[in-house]
Symmetry: C2
Subunit: 201 residues, 2 copies
């Protein structure tokens, strides 16, 4: 019942609010949020009203309360287990970051095809071979996977993930994945934010 556009904005709010929380900032106004997130303050108030969050005149919104509220809407108040395929540069960056953030979407398993990497550890997790995918997905109750392998390997990896029971994929490989209707794929591109920066130069 919350529109797709608002759902996609919620993590953006959350990131900014988490940073405020880390700096012990107690309240934030829609003006501040608007400036920080490049959104119109009226849009901010409309978004937050979607889930009953009304700021208080002269005070604004309470940071901690907003953080908890948004996390519960995004179901981030419970840990969601995620697996990562591809322990290369990107895979390492993502696993370290994930552990550092103590994200409630927690990477709990990492896979790679390279025999020199299998068995090594990243963030206290042993890199596993793809053969162990289906078992690990069951044992660790994982429904979401991150693909960080080269483009030409991505479709085959996606097929194995779907066969293993994964229903949500965050794909970094520069290729359009083909998946069954019940599987959701989000394509990530770190450089897209770069492209929209250029427009404003």
């Amino acid at each position: 019942k919350i529109s797709e556009a608002v759902v996609r904005r919620l993590p953006v709010y959350l990131r900014y609010l988490n940073n405020l929380k880390a700096m012990n900032v107690r309240t934030v106004s829609s003006q501040q949020l608007g400036e920080a997130l490049d959104l119109n303050p009226a849009q901010i108030r409309k978004d937050l009203a979607c889930f009953g969050e009304f700021g208080r005149k002269g005070i604004g919104y309470e940071v901690n309360y907003l953080v908890e509220k948004i996390k519960s809407i995004l179901k981030l108040d419970k840990q969601v287990n995620v697996l990562l395929v591809g322990a290369g540069h990107l895979g390492h960056a993502i696993s370290n970051y994930n552990a550092y953030l103590k994200d409630s979407m927690r990477i709990v398993a990492i896979f790679d095809a390279d025999p020199h990497k299998i068995g090594k550890k990243i963030v206290n997790m042993m890199i596993q071979p793809l053969e162990e995918l289906a078992n690990t997905v069951k044992e660790k109750n994982i429904r979401i996977a991150i693909i960080a392998v080269p483009a030409d390997a991505a479709q085959a990896v996606a097929d194995r993930l779907v066969a293993a029971g994964i229903t949500g994929i965050l794909n970094f490989a520069p290729t359009n994945l083909r998946v069954p209707e019940n599987v959701r794929v989000h394509d990530a591109d770190v450089t897209m934010e770069l492209h929209s920066l250029a427009y404003y130069l």
Copy 2:
């Protein structure tokens, strides 16, 4: 004169269209675009109409033409020089990806503070010390920078970038950067797409 919301969507269109182009697909309908990008086809048609792009009934839009049109709006039809600070896991992943994509926003210089990394090469570029920032920005006509250093180093790096003449920053460090009014910062977070995936589980 194109709204912020549409500008932010354009790189998303571009990524998908580039993949179609790479697969030699000639035309695409607003339905297909809508399904692939999780947008309402009516929204797609409205966005593309913003810059005079009207699909043809029964045919849809021409992929190559749309790609060129969007690139020119985002000023991606000319090469825009970018520098990267932080040659760690994320920095390596981004530089390789940038070179592979032959992105018109091209990383042309990489900096790091680690003496063991300075002087080494990534993608044919020698990693430079931060002391060379101002000169390199001038010589290579760079106005945009990517920050991929740890959170506690990010603000100091941003200060040096601003002092060197950078006016656009793509920030990956999990911290809110403080910059002058004329400098634009976009915060990137690869895990935000992950969070909006969880909502749909």
